[in-house]
């Protein structure tokens, strides 16, 4: 255990570090949770270990696991060293994953993203890392977004209640090297309302795509809105959301996102109006539509949006009627979703979502159990440290001192193991978070599918319109032909109807094009989902497994040492 020769600076330093930890661990018996003691030993250890990490590899000493400064320094010293001073075989063991566990997350390519991030956005690293792993060809381009610095601001212009309308803005900083963005660093202030606007505009512009869902609006009082915790939660959620947008190959280049990230001051995107005013507008239009004074045909530019979110109540009613007819009347609509492949895929997505939900839940179960283990192990260690001190202080016989020494060994190991469990868990959380991410993505998939079905509904509605218009013309022509010379009023009516048909035809064509476009987007996105999901899940599994292996090895070593030290007792038991 203790090298008999002094082999140089590094070895002495290493030895001192471990002793330091052991003595530190023993010096806080009264500390129940042990937190203070731990942080003391932590910081001392950290300073000792970082100097260790910075020394270059000394040829006379065994290879030391050098990890970057921001990873946990407690893992730096090797678990134990044999007294064998011959270095050529002191550490040559089969490749141990104890050495490897940090590499996936600490490679320099990802460390760029690590710089400047707050300490509590650790979980975000996985997003940036995923971007990298999926597109090896474009490793050179990136968008890095940070949300920080929440501040309260007053809406001076519109407040009915003086000083009443306060809201929070966040600082959004972007760093990118995509030429399209016309710049490399941007900094703007945005409020949550702006994010809602962005999300709505993206939903309109990118129908059929799997658009990451935005964070929820919270219908809460302004009191809660300004609470520290809530603001911090929202900040984290916003950052996650924007980073997901930046990870989407199409959306990251969108004008909407660019405007949001770059344009200082007021967000230059049309705001969404609330449901009430939309309905009001629609209600105002409706009578005119019904009496034929206003255009009853959907304008082409409106056709490309679903009826639901708009102001055209008449259109809403028509499409509703159509969907009812589809479902209940038993009549086959003029155009149906025939793509079998799509339908199968849709069902499969449904199944996947279910499985992901279950997996996500059980993953949380593992995390909780690992957490408990770590805590209990630590508490056990502390209890034995107290016992050790006690026995030493009150010793009347040598057997007590021997026991105290044994307990100390056990306690030290338990505390070490406890730390390993906790680190293992922190990593596990990061890895299994992928499951949660994809579960969230399912929402986006539903959105894209619903874009498709509402576009289809629009097409179906227009086709029904057309056919009913045509049949009206037929009837009128039939009736008109019975009268000699034609029926002036009927003929006029026919002409009007023909006009309407032409407009409706235009609308129909636009609608069909839109539907086809959305179908195409769906297809592309589904393919992308398959590729990316497989890669991400594979990474997740690899990370998870490597992590488990690495820490299990470390923990095993810690206990093996104690088993070795107490092996004398083994001979005595029967």
């Amino acid at each position: 255990m203790m090298g008999s020769e002094n082999q140089g600076f590094q070895e002495a330093h290493l030895f001192a570090t471990r002793e330091e930890m052991e003595s530190l661990v023993l010096d806080d018996p009264s500390d129940h949770g042990g937190n203070n003691g731990k942080s003391v030993s932590y910081s001392n250890y950290r300073s000792a270990a970082s100097s260790l990490a910075s020394t270059t590899h000394h040829t006379l000493s065994p290879p030391i696991i050098v990890t970057p400064a921001d990873s946990d320094p407690l893992l730096v010293p090797p678990p134990y060293r044999s007294s064998n001073s011959n270095d050529s075989h002191s550490y040559i063991e089969p490749p141990s994953y104890a050495d490897v566990i940090f590499s996936p997350f600490d490679e320099s390519s990802v460390s760029e993203f690590n710089g400047g991030v707050d300490s509590n956005t650790n979980s975000q690293n996985s997003d940036s890392f995923l971007v990298l792993s999926r597109s090896p060809s474009s490793t050179s381009d990136y968008i890095k977004i940070t949300v920080s610095n929440p501040q309260k601001e007053q809406d001076t212009a519109n407040s009915l209640v003086p000083g009443g309308n306060t809201f929070v803005t966040y600082l959004i900083t972007t760093r990118t090297n995509i030429p399209d963005h016309g710049g490399s660093e941007f900094s703007v202030r945005r409020r949550f309302k702006d994010v809602v606007t962005l999300a709505d505009r993206l939903a309109e512009a990118y129908r059929g795509f799997f658009i990451p869902p935005r964070p929820d609006k919270n219908v809460v009082e302004s009191q809660v809105m300004q609470k520290q915790e809530f603001v911090e939660q929202r900040r984290v959620a916003l950052e996650k959301y924007l980073r997901r947008l930046a990870a989407h190959p199409v959306i990251r280049l969108s004008d909407e996102l660019k405007a949001f990230l770059q344009v200082e001051g007021k967000l230059p995107l049309p705001t969404s109006t609330d449901v009430a005013s939309r309905m009001l507008d629609g209600a105002v239009k409706l009578p005119k539509q019904l009496f034929g004074e206003s255009n009853t045909v959907v304008a082409p530019h409106e056709v490309v949006q679903p009826a639901k979110g708009g102001r055209d109540l008449l259109r809403l009613f028509k499409e509703l009627k159509q969907s009812v007819a589809n479902d209940w009347a038993g009549t086959k609509p003029p155009v149906v979703e025939e793509d079998k492949e799509f339908l199968e895929k849709k069902e499969w997505i449904h199944d996947l979502e279910q499985q992901l939900s279950n997996a996500s839940q059980q993953a949380e179960g593992i995390v909780k159990a690992q957490q408990d283990m770590g805590e209990t192990m630590g508490e056990l260690g502390l209890a034995f440290i107290k016992l050790t001190k006690f026995e030493n202080e009150e010793a009347m016989f040598n057997s007590q001192r021997v026991r105290a020494a044994d307990m100390k060994a056990l306690a030290t190991a338990a505390v070490k193991a406890s730390r390993f469990y906790r680190e293992l868990n922190a990593q596990t959380v990061k890895h299994l978070d992928t499951l949660h991410e994809y579960l969230g993505l399912m929402l986006a998939v539903h959105g894209a599918f619903s874009d498709r079905s509402s576009a289809l509904l629009t097409v179906q509605t227009l086709l029904s319109e057309l056919s009913s218009l045509n049949s009206r013309i037929e009837k009128l022509e039939a009736a008109s032909s019975k009268i000699f010379g034609g029926d002036k009023s009927r003929i006029r009516k026919i002409e009007e109807l023909k006009e309407t048909i032409r407009a409706t035809e235009d609308a129909k064509n636009v609608a069909i094009r839109e539907y086809e476009r959305i179908k195409e987007n769906n297809k592309i996105e589904l393919e992308r989902l398959d590729v990316e999901r497989r890669a991400d899940f594979l990474n997740m599994l690899k990370g998870f497994v490597v992590n488990q292996v690495g820490y299990a090895e470390k923990i095993s070593n810690v206990w093996a040492k104690v088993a070795e030290e107490t092996s004398g007792y083994a001979r005595e038991s029967i």
Binding site: D351, A383, F390, V402, A409, A570
Partner: protein, 401 residues
Amino acid sequence: MEQPRSVSGASLSPRSPSSPPFLSISVTDPVKLGNGVQAYISYRVITKTNFTEYQWPEKFVIRRYSDFVWLHGRLFEKYKGIFIPPLPEKSAVEKFRFSAEFIETRRQGLNSFVNRIASHHELHQSEDLRTFLQSDEETMQRLRSYETGIFIKKPADLMQIFKDVQLKVSDVILGKEKPVEESNPEYEKLKHYIFELEAHLAEAQKHAYRLVKGHRDLGQSLSDFGKVAKLLGACEGYTLGKVFSELGAKSETLSIRLQKEAHQLLMNFEEPLKDYVRAVQSIKATIRERANTCREKGELAETMKLKEINLGKLVLALSDRVGEAEIEYNESKAESEEATRRFETIVRRMSDEIVQFQEQKTLDMGIAFHEFAKGQSQLANSIANAWRSLLPKLEACSFTQ
């Protein structure tokens, strides 16, 4: 441990002087008997010995927990000053559930109990032990119900209550407020040590219990996760799906391994700690006994003095009650001397016992720690190996995507 600690000069003699004396006992074969509330477990107690005092060289009897309680009580009464080996807990609640684990831990506890008695240099000579090991079941039942039927509590507990009452009464009579206590700084230190030790050990045991539970919970979570991973694998299909399925299978395997370890931990780590706590409680009982005896000694010494003074007065007064008084005085003197002897026996025994106790506990704990560390190390290795076996497949997967 089967051999008596001191082989020489014991009052029990081996059958054949050439072979070493031995008394080997095992408590085995738990069987549930009876129904409902009256259900109990019976154990087979097998004795192999070459002591002549024992009627048979090999004999087995059927005993139940209350029989062991009887034996414990008798030893406690007769061998004051000795730390009687502790019994496993009574636990009225668990009895109804009679889980396999409970039965096994109880059996082991009872086995340790009798074997420790058999290995103790004084206790192994006990007649009550012989009765316990060799009497037929009816005799045992009679003895047991006599002691435990009439008195609901353990004999020792009841005696304690009587003595406490005695103390208060005699205090009033003698006009004393405080009982006589020894002033022995080393002994005070020991008492203080024992009381604090119990608290520390109880805490350690509590965490050991949680650790056992922690292993079980982790095992359960891995099992649950394994199941859903398999389902997810079925959904995913292709190579990735296979990997998920294998991961799920490994997870389930590890779950079983964890449950096993939890059991080992219970038996080899938690139980020894509980045993340690019980041993300390036994010492506390002895401490109480010593205090009682000390008090008695003091009281009887006082009484004797009073009688002596009284006698002296009567002698001077040439009273005709001198004879009576002399008899009283002599009786009182004998009692006082007897109490003093008893007290000194306790003190002597305790000082031997405490040395033994510390050594034994260091040994017991050493074994427990070793098993614990070994178990944890092996568990971690199994976990590492299980997960490691997946890595080649994971590597292969990334090439065949």
